[in-house]
Symmetry: C2
DNA sequence: ACGCGTCACTGACACGTGTCACCTATCTGA
DNA sequence: TCAGATAGGTGACACGTGTCAGTGACGCGT
């Protein structure tokens, strides 16, 4: 405890045993200028004039020392960061999300933001918000998995977060909300099935946790369409395992369904295979339709019909984030951003 | 229209009253104590004794103000962060990776680290390293997509990064390397095919960029197995589209292959379907095997044989990261980690 | 010689936190 | 009574950066 580390002692001792991380002060010393000059040169600030020979000396010194600025010190000084926080409970699998995330990250990077995926497993909404707030992000973009309560928004706002954006099934108080009309997905699926003469429609409800906020609204949408046409909707709980699908298929005769909306392509494929193995003819006895328009859906026979969902483009969302951070978000109010449409193949 | 955007319904659209972010000094003032005391209480430092009434006053004040510590200031003061950087060029789709990433993030969080996915699209290795270094992470875990050159390692080390860990097809100089034995995947696949009497084996090589560092070694492994048994290996370029698969299937007769290793399950499924549509009997004429053991592979008929890959567990890697940061990791350097075994179903 | 403007740069402060050394009462034992 | 121990706390510094207000040198017109 009383052992002291050898002091760098400002030039008196030339060598320190541990190689310290070079700072802008080191660069300044080597280049024979002040630290302010170093800062001006490396950030090439336009308001201050520094002669070209000096600029070059500074840059050379920085290169030689391998100087890299300290992001934490920067944000501390600046009072705000360029972090965009992306809370995730479980990282969602699925190519739809992956592709979207890729685009978003790329676009935000282009705007000089850093995207941080931050897990908050098993935390209450406001505890999670506190954890996020520690990073003092410029914006928080919640993609529907994580609930954002008004209290959580208040915590974030109070910690200096400029923009809170939610993408989910419903608008969250106090945030810029991109409302994905999940009921519409179920609705167009059901409308299609009804239009092709089906009357008793099953709707798969995944048992996996975390999907409830999508499956519920899709079920509701299907119900709405069925009601309007005098058809019937039956919810079908299903886990993403072969056993569960086989068990459901075994009950098929007693259910008396002539169509099923499989929540998404993956569940639909799983169920369709089980149905075929149980002797159910698709689409003769029962029509099947999924959602998400995966390539793999075309590999089964019959090819899987699906609902194609146009998610907002990553670049578009990135622009919204930037506007919200700058306080220049357009006040156009509601704005149509995508459509869900049925792609008919062979399974319906 | 199934998506809409909404403004904050707070009445304070865009323009929030400039309420200063509370600091520990504010808490101290409100509680009537010094800032040092606040720090001791909130981090409940064991070495210093603070009376229970005072502790409670401080906690109450912090609660009332909604105080949240400033991570940047903390890491600046501490000289190091608890960030674990996970560079990604493209976020890889695929459930294998997603599941792994989930586990890793969860386990590291448990050890009080924050995982940051940081994209470095189109940057040279050392430029990317400089960008990572700005965040002064405690560790950098590169998952094989991004090349880590010795120069990049030097930059990271110099910026104070405690541990550089690479997970990939080969060890990287100066890092803790987890070597995934990719050739082994191709080898076991080919050995299985040869053992069941096949002699001319096609190996799918995806045309998608970024997969080359996996597909190349797998091809080599297959070649090695074939050579040992006097069999033949033919590389088959394939893009992840139906058209590409159909085109490849059309050339099947002239290729004269009696087996194919599909790189992974997704490519294998795509190709198998195209082969069947072209009138090729699977596994009669040609055996097909994939890799990754996806559930969807069981949905096709015949069920897809596959190579099951045991990736390192997220928790295990997290422990290694922690050890490396603390300097208590065994300096073995390289360590083989990928166990591959064939799961025979019906397609081979 | 003097005022004035421009050029090229520097000194010093603030951002929010953790921690070490120090300080003042009060209590203890002889 | 007095030295010493202990409880409970505080003042001050350092971390690395960006930026504002100066500051000396120099050229120029009168």
């Amino acid at each position: 405890m009383s052992q002291s580390i050898e002091q760098p002692a400002d030039g008196t001792t030339g060598r320190t045993p541990v190689r310290a991380v070079p700072t802008s002060a080191d660069v300044a010393r080597l280049a024979g200028v002040s630290r302010a000059t170093v800062s001006y040169v490396l950030n090439n600030t336009s308001a201050v004039r520094i002669s070209e020979p000096t600029r070059e000396r500074v840059r050379e010194a920085a290169r030689e020392l391998g100087y890299v600025p300290h992001a934490a010190a920067r944000t501390l000084r600046a009072g705000h960061s360029r972090l965009v926080l992306l809370p995730t409970a479980h990282v969602p699998v699925g190519p739809l999300y992956s592709g979207f995330f890729n685009d978003l990250q790329w676009a935000l990077r282009r705007l000089d933001y850093t995207v941080v995926q931050y897990g908050s497993v098993g935390l209450a909404a406001e505890d999670a918000a506190r954890a996020w707030a520690e990073l003092r992000p410029a914006a928080v973009v919640s993609m529907g998995e994580v609930e954002v309560t008004p209290g959580a928004v208040e915590i974030l706002r109070r910690s200096g977060v400029k923009a809170v954006i939610t993408v989910g099934t419903r608008a969250a108080e106090g945030t810029h909300s991109l409302v994905l009309d999940q009921p519409r997905v179920g609705e167009v699926a059901a409308e299609h099935l009804i239009a092709t003469g089906r009357r008793r429609i099953g709707v798969v409800v995944p048992e996996e946790p975390g999907l409830g906020m999508f499956s519920g609204p899709r079920l509701d949408g299907a119900r709405r369409a069925a009601e309007a046409a005098g058809a019937t909707v039956v919810p079908l709980p299903l886990a993403y395992t072969e056993e569960s699908a086989v068990a459901l298929a075994a009950r098929w005769p007693e259910l008396g369904l002539d169509a099923v909306f499989g929540y998404n392509d993956e569940y639909a494929m799983l169920l369709m295979r089980a149905l075929q193995d149980a002797g159910v003819d698709v689409p003769g006895d029962t029509a099947v339709i999924g959602a998400d328009d995966l390539l793999l859906g075309r590999l089964l026979r019959p090819r899987l019909s699906t609902v194609h969902i146009d998610l907002i483009e990553g670049g578009e969302l990135a622009a919204l984030v930037d506007d919200a951070v700058n306080g220049t978000a357009d006040a156009t109010g509601r704005r149509p951003l995508l459509d869900s449409r049925v792609i008919v193949r062979e399974s319906s």
